[in-house]
């Protein structure tokens, strides 16, 4: 930033002082103005912004101490430096207690003056940079991805706000695709840990050994291929949060390790002996029935109680259908920007289909449906024809009775549509062989319309 962007106001009743400092700062490239008394200084501060004010402590009328207070009332961010004679250093100290940044004694050592001004400018630059970075982080961590104004989602927002301010372990529960990770990120973003990272760990994606190494890190040579020492997710999350997705998938062996870390916040790297302490907030998510897993002995009861301190239940999309239009429009805008496609609205008929559909894959499925519609559709709107095939056809098809056969028929038809009548894939999903599927198609007279 150029010095011209910084303004300095010199307030002194002595003309020679005003002129000398004016010239001094002008040569340094600052925007400078002078005032010979408090009234003029206040008037000038009303009409222009200054970053630094050099104020003489002894002036007729309002003195420097009082003026400082008035200047601060007008502009809180103004930095005041008091100019004083040796005899009035006591008053200058009083000024410091009242919030002045520093004081200089007459005559001023040019070196001291340069240092004071440079320090103030550097501090202001850092402050500005800090504010900009914080705004940037706030922008990045907004939870505008969690869209909706249904009662259910409003309740979730409330819970996020409540728990975010604490360090409590949070368990987020909900079906697949309901936005559990977004909620975890929102909790982190609204906590005091937001300037530290949130480290996600997908417990379902890694095998036992890999997960152990991922979580705790490893020392060089800890196992074949461990050529270097590596920090684990716990270490990386130090100061921030660690998010365990699909916590229900953690093996029994790792559950023991995890329980120990959660209790002590200490661990050792794989193949290491050094005890490492971390300060992390734990957020977990699962779509599994943990209570059942505990009953069946698949999930440790002590770990369950350790994790189940504050639970947030995310409703499935079918239970908050009033949010579907908002969500659909949100994804339409998002993908429109990403794909640079001028799609601006969703046809009412298409919206009706979206609202009536049950969304077993929840928000993830809705996002995918909109993305697909954006790809195949023609701007400026998404029409019914652009929606995934199975959605249009299964929409409105309700079992005519509660008989097993009728429900089986509807379910098979839904899966067939979902996989575009790919028999092998549909049979695999339905967990039956291809021949059985063909028999069922014939039996129920199912057709690919």
């Amino acid at each position: 930033m150029n010095n011209k962007n910084y303004g300095i106001l010199v307030v002194d009743d002595e003309k020679i002082v005003r002129e000398s400092l004016f010239k001094w700062f002008l040569e340094d490239g600052y925007r400078v103005d002078t005032a010979e008394n408090a009234a003029e200084a206040l008037r000038k501060l009303q009409s222009a912004t200054f970053d630094i004010a050099f104020v003489d402590i002894k002036m007729p009328g309002m003195d420097g101490l009082e003026l400082q207070r008035h200047l601060k009332e007008v502009d809180k961010s103004l930095t005041v430096v008091i100019i004083t004679a040796f005899a009035s250093v006591d008053s200058a100290v009083r000024a410091l207690k009242d919030g002045a940044y520093d004081y200089v004694t007459k005559p001023i050592d040019p070196d001291e003056l340069t240092h004071i001004v440079n320090n103030i400018i550097n501090q202001k630059k850092l402050l500005t940079e800090n504010i900009q970075l914080r705004e940037k982080i706030d922008e990045l961590t907004q939870f505008d991805e969690i869209v909706g104004d249904s009662l259910q989602i409003k309740k979730v927002f409330e819970l996020i706000s409540t728990v975010a301010k604490t360090d409590t372990t949070v368990l987020i529960r909900g079906e697949s695709g309901t936005g559990k990770e977004l909620v975890a990120r929102a909790i982190h973003a609204h906590s005091s840990r937001k300037f530290f990272p949130i480290i996600p760990v997908n417990c379902g994606a890694l095998n036992d050994n890999l997960l152990e190494s991922e979580l705790f890190g490893h020392e060089k040579g800890a196992f074949t291929g461990a050529q270097y020492r590596r920090k684990g997710k716990f270490e990386m999350a130090d100061g921030g949060s660690i998010f365990f997705d699909e916590i229900g998938c953690v093996s029994e062996r790792l559950q023991v390790d995890l329980l120990r870390v959660l209790e002590t916040r200490q661990f050792t790297r794989v193949g290491g002996e050094q005890v490492i302490s971390v300060d992390v907030r734990v957020i977990c998510a699962t779509n599994k029935d943990l209570e059942l897993a505990v009953k069946e002995g698949k999930f440790r009861e002590d770990l369950y109680y350790r994790l189940n301190v504050f639970t947030i239940f995310l409703p499935p999309l079918r239970e908050r259908k009033s949010d579907i239009p908002k969500l659909a429009n949100h994804f339409m805008k998002k993908f429109s920007q990403v794909m640079n496609k001028p799609v601006t609205q969703i046809d009412p008929e298409a919206m009706d289909v979206l609202v009536r559909y049950d969304w077993p894959g929840n928000i993830r499925e809705l996002a995918n449906a909109i993305e697909r519609a954006m790809v195949v559709g023609k701007p400026p709107q998404i029409s019914k024809e652009d929606l995934p095939f199975q959605m249009k056809n299964t929409n409105g098809i309700k079992p005519s009775s509660d008989s097993i056969e009728e429900i089986e028929k509807i379910h098979i038809l839904k899966i067939l549509h979902q996989y575009n009548w790919n028999i092998s894939k549909s049979a695999e999903v339905l967990d039956i062989d291809r021949a059985t599927l063909y028999n069922k198609i014939n039996k129920y007279n199912l057709k690919n319309r």
Binding site: I16, S20, L26, L113, T114
Partner: protein, 175 residues
């Protein structure tokens, strides 16, 4: 446009010819040196035992010794001050015609070190180019090497270079 260096109560043991040559090379203008006599009497502050540089500039401006189309810089060994500051190495009329440089605090002996005429020559040359730069409208520069870098103590003078940085040079040519 010419540059005239006026010497009044100045330290005479340095190479005036070399000074003129260096200044000429910096500005690409003809530079002359002339000894002069100035009555500094009323610029003297008995309490501070220093001379008021702003008043010296006024004397220069009012004097008829400075020709038209000339930037004049007074070189003196007197200790200079502006009222609010403890001291100055020099002062210039920004975008004007006159400037003054003092070698008083540029001597190594001032800081208790052995005499070093070469270093003094270099310091004087830098300060003269710096103050003349102000008369051409140049402000202080942030580049450590540039002669227009502000120097509030003598080590600052030693650290900066004797030439204008490209940015100052381009402004200088625009001026």
């Amino acid at each position: 446009m010419f540059i005239e260096i006026l010497g009044a109560r100045y330290y005479e043991k340095f190479d005036v010819g070399l000074l003129c040559k260096d200044v000429k090379s910096a500005f690409n203008l003809d530079v002359t040196f002339r000894k002069t006599v100035i009555d500094f009497g009323f610029t003297f502050d008995a309490n501070r035992i220093q001379y008021n540089s702003t008043q010296i500039l006024n004397i220069l401006l009012k004097s008829n010794k400075i020709k038209k189309d000339t930037k004049a810089i007074l070189l003196t060994d007197l200790d200079l001050f502006v009222p609010i500051m403890t001291h100055v190495f020099g002062e210039a009329e920004l975008n004007g015609r006159v400037a003054v440089v003092s070698s008083h605090r540029l001597h190594t002996e001032y800081y208790g070190l052995p005499q070093n005429i070469d270093l003094l020559q270099e310091r004087i040359t830098k300060e003269i180019i710096h103050e003349l730069g102000h008369t051409f409208g140049l402000l202080h520069c942030k580049y450590a090497d540039c002669v227009m870098k502000s120097s509030t103590y003598v080590e600052d003078v030693d650290m900066k270079g004797m030439n204008f940085c490209n940015s100052c040079k381009s402004q200088f040519f625009i001026v």
